[in-house]
């Protein structure tokens, strides 16, 4: 199939999925608002904690909001692009993954296009607004390098969360009944990435920096943007390495997905 033919199939898959989900206008509008409010829900936690205390791990309210916003934008975009790959488990259970394998297109791309959830745009919009507000409040010392980091960090964060989604999706080729373990890892990472990693203590904190690179989605780039020291003893420049962490996560995710697809054996018939 030519690449144009491939694009046309993607287009058809996308249109069909979006038409289905926006068919009931009122409900879709409420879902969009609900997705946006989800960010607000997480934000209430930050707000409530800082109502009680002025600093957490030495970070002020606007500083934590920056961490929160960077991680939140990354997660929201990743969720829109590949969050729907959790549907892979239904394909594995019912054996309909055969259909996905039959089409001459990448399996992951098909799954992502067929079940795109446009309501997740609500989450991206609110996260971006929070990010802009945090940056206005902080009045950072801008240099060209920092501007570049501000652009690169959400992209790298998106790749990191996207890789987590794909790894969790790949897991369901093996663990047909245990996919929640993958979800716990993704949503747990999304939750903890909104706070200074130091709150988790040394062992768990390092795990979510160097094994699951959640700290690279919000916290470490924020430390680099703020130009401040890192209280758990990492060098302040580590945040600049977020593209490296993203590349590593992407490589692992690609390997896991390929191994998972090879492991798939269908469901009889």
């Amino acid at each position: 199939m030519t690449w144009r033919g491939g694009l046309r199939v993607y287009g058809t898959l996308l249109r069909a999925g979006i038409a289905g989900q926006t068919a009931y206008r009122t409900s879709f509008a409420l879902e969009l608002a609900g997705a946006g409010l989800l960010v607000g829900l997480d934000f209430v936690e930050v707000l409530a904690i800082f109502t009680q205390v002025p600093l957490v791990e030495g970070f002020s309210f606007p500083e934590v909001v920056l961490v929160f916003a960077l991680a939140s934008v990354s997660f929201a975009v990743a969720d829109l692009l590949v969050g729907q790959t959790d549907a892979v488990i239904q394909h594995v259970r019912s054996g309909t993954f055969d259909v996905v394998l039959l089409r001459p297109l990448p399996t992951l791309g098909q799954l992502a296009a067929a079940d795109l959830q446009p309501r997740r745009l609500g989450r991206i919009a609110v996260s971006v607004v929070v990010l802009v507000l945090a940056l206005r409040e902080l009045e950072l010392d801008w240099s060209p390098a920092r501007v570049a980091l501000l652009v690169v960090a959400p992209l790298a964060g998106t790749v990191i969360f996207g890789s987590l989604f794909v790894c969790a999706g790949a897991l369901s080729f093996w663990l047909v009944e245990g996919t929640e373990v993958g979800s716990a890892l993704i949503y747990g990472s999304a939750y903890l990435s909104q706070w200074p990693i130091g709150v988790l203590g040394p062992v768990v904190g390092r795990f979510f920096t160097f094994v699951v690179p959640a700290a690279f989605t919000g916290y470490l780039p924020a430390v680099a943007l703020l130009g401040r020291s890192e209280p758990t003893g990492l060098p302040a420049w580590v945040g600049w390495l977020c593209p490296v962490a993203a590349a590593a996560a992407l490589a692992v995710a690609a390997l896991c997905w390929r191994a998972g697809v090879r492991h798939y054996v269908g469901a009889g018939g």
Partner: protein
């Protein structure tokens, strides 16, 4: 629609049926308990970090109380059920609700009995699991007053009833709207904040705390937890549980009224 309440035997059978239906999904139960425990670790870490800055006590909670809050609330997630709940929505959409209406027992009583069965099943692993694991790692506050534990048990039952009333009220909108997914999402988001699931309601800024206590949501989660950690005097705890009972009564009355109006609109196709 019959207005009859179930006989004690029928009620017991319905509770048992709800219990057994959910007890079938063992792996889902374990996976859910795992997820709730993972989130609990993050939640308690954030709260401990706040307590450290504040010098040990935040909004009246010390470290032991914060840990107890975390593990009780993580455990109660599945018991009171704070997520999207669609059994009744599906029955209205499919028309199966007609079967519920034809039964000799009031449908709200049937659904409530089944929900209590579901909640008691959730107590076994989804409540006890995170509480034991979290308690062993982070410690728990042992109640000082002997009356606290029985009052907590009553408070949890009422919390399930309040949650059931809210969930059913939202579900019944399906009689009027064809697609209620958006409404359900919105309900989950708002109720999760206001019930005190992410941070204790007493942490909220004043305006939000006032708003929260004007709704039934703290009665779904915050009240049983605060009863257990003895955040208030014995008298105030009894008052808080009475507020829960009042909300449960109001919500169940509302649900019965709304169901009666909804069924007047109901048209079930087919023979």
């Amino acid at each position: 629609m019959s207005g009859a309440l179930p006989s004690p035997r029928a009620a017991a059978a319905l509770v048992a049926a709800g219990f057994r239906r959910y007890a079938t999904y063992r792996q889902a139960t374990l996976a859910g308990a795992f997820t709730n425990t993972v989130f609990g670790v993050v939640k308690v870490s954030i709260l401990f970090a706040a307590a450290e800055t504040a010098g040990g006590v935040v909004a009246g909670y010390d470290r032991a109380a914060l840990s107890t809050y975390t593990w009780l609330s993580q455990g109660l997630i599945a018991v009171v059920w704070v997520f999207t709940w669609t059994p009744v929505v599906q029955r209205v959409r499919s028309g199966d609700v007609a079967i519920d209406l034809a039964r000799p027992v009031h449908p709200v009583a049937v659904w409530l009995a089944e929900d209590l069965g579901r909640a008691s099943q959730a107590c076994l692993v989804r409540f006890a699991g995170p509480l034991v694991v979290g308690g062993l790692i982070f410690g728990l506050r042992v109640p000082e007053r002997p009356a606290t534990l029985p009052l907590f048990a009553v408070s949890v039952v009422l919390a399930v009833a309040v949650s059931f009333g809210c969930r059913l009220l939202v579900s019944l909108v399906a009689f009027w709207l064809i697609d209620v997914r958006g409404l359900l999402t919105l309900y989950v988001v708002v109720s999760n904040v206001l019930c005190g699931l992410l941070v204790p309601v007493p942490f909220f800024p004043g305006w939000l705390r006032t708003a929260a206590y004007a709704t039934p949501f703290p009665s779904m989660l915050q009240t049983p937890v605060d009863v257990a950690v003895e955040r208030m005097s014995a008298v105030d705890a009894a008052v808080a549980v009475s507020v829960q009972a009042a909300w449960a009564a109001v919500l169940l009355a509302a649900v019965v009224t709304v169901l009666a109006r909804g069924t007047r609109r109901l048209v079930v196709q087919g023979g």
